[in-house]
């Protein structure tokens, strides 16, 4: 199979370039990550990427595959048009090859204060939550922070410092939606400015690339609805 992979080493390259690789690999049953790691093992040890769990739960290997963001470890080789173009996640500074600087994403994630706030004295047992209340968190807690969504969002490209982005907003709504959290008001205040939330124009790139099938746009819509309800 043929691959065309983005290469850039700041120590040796003035400009990024696309490098072509040929690899003898059976597409059926193999993922893109298998191919990339075999290229690294057998042909070019300098090919640089992040990887960890190799099963789509750790979120290390988000990259741009034939123009669309995804996780290399759960993208089957079957069905990918050749040469398979592999680039780093767009809109983020490239450190080397397929490795990007995730700092903007992490900063925004932190800015929504993604932790439970409950001022009541902790009971001796768990805080009760009905299955229906818990179901409100389905589709929110599964996020793996791979960055595929935010780096597919033009609003995040233009304002990564001011717009929270789909990943961060999903995390924000995860705690708003949690029946155990008491901080909804402060969480909404934290998002109510022209940039942090309202740069989302609902183009749903985040939804179409999310490797876990989550829907940040829906979560953002629910935050907006809550803002409207609160102000009336």
């Amino acid at each position: 199979m043929r691959f065309s992979i983005y290469r850039y080493d700041p120590e040796h390259d003035a400009q990024p370039r696309m490098q072509t690789y040929e690899l003898d690999i059976e597409p059926a049953g193999n993922m893109l990550l298998d191919a990339l790691l075999r290229i690294k093992d057998e042909q070019d040890s300098s090919l640089t990427l992040r990887r960890s769990c190799r099963e789509g739960v750790c979120g290390s290997d988000g990259m741009n595959i034939n123009g669309s963001n995804g996780l290399a470890c759960i993208t089957p080789l079957t069905g990918l048009k050749q040469p398979i173009a592999v680039r780093p996640l767009p809109g983020l500074p490239v450190i080397r090859d397929l490795v990007v600087d995730m700092t903007p994403l992490n900063q925004q994630y932190k800015s929504v204060e993604p932790w439970l706030n409950n001022a009541d004295p902790a009971p001796e047992i768990e805080r009760l939550q009905s299955p229906a209340q818990r179901a409100q968190l389905d589709g929110l807690v599964e996020c793996i922070q791979c960055g595929c969504c935010s780096s597919a969002c033009p609003s995040f490209w233009w304002n990564p410092d001011k717009f929270v982005g789909p990943a961060g907003l999903l995390a924000a709504y995860r705690y708003i939606a949690d029946s155990r959290d008491q901080n909804t008001d402060a969480r909404l205040d934290n998002l109510q400015d022209p940039y942090r939330l309202f740069r989302c124009h609902g183009i749903m790139n985040c939804v179409s690339v999310c490797p876990k099938g989550l829907n940040p746009t829906a979560a953002i819509g629910k935050i907006k609805t809550l803002l409207v309800k609160r102000s009336t």
Partner: protein
């Protein structure tokens, strides 16, 4: 209600007005098919029709304002340039509304 939220609400509500008028106007047109300039003028003669059309133009201007403001906020970083563009857009949209009012009521 904060500026950001009201802007967003204005965009949504104006969109509803635009959608309603876009559905209503072709139907109106179909039932009162104009055969000349006088007929065309007659289309806008009833007061409710003039109000509806003015509402439509107002909604269009507001919708465009929020949209253009969004675009300037996304792409134009220098504050001076952005302010100038905001003023230009506002002036232009306001004149469009005034002009539309003049057209709708001026000939009556």
């Amino acid at each position: 209600m904060s500026g950001a939220l009201s802007n967003w609400l204005v965009q949504r509500i104006s969109a509803v007005v635009l959608a309603l008028y876009s559905l209503f106007f072709p139907a109106w047109l179909l039932f009162h098919w104009p055969h000349g300039w006088l007929d065309w003028r007659g289309l806008f003669a009833p007061l409710p029709m003039r109000i509806a059309t003015l509402l439509f133009v107002l909604a269009l201007a507001l919708h465009a304002w929020v949209g253009m403001r969004d675009i300037f906020m996304d792409y134009v970083k220098p504050p001076g340039v952005r302010l100038a563009l905001h003023v230009a857009a506002l002036v232009w949209l306001a004149s469009c509304v005034v002009w539309a009012t003049a057209i709708l009521w001026g000939q009556a």
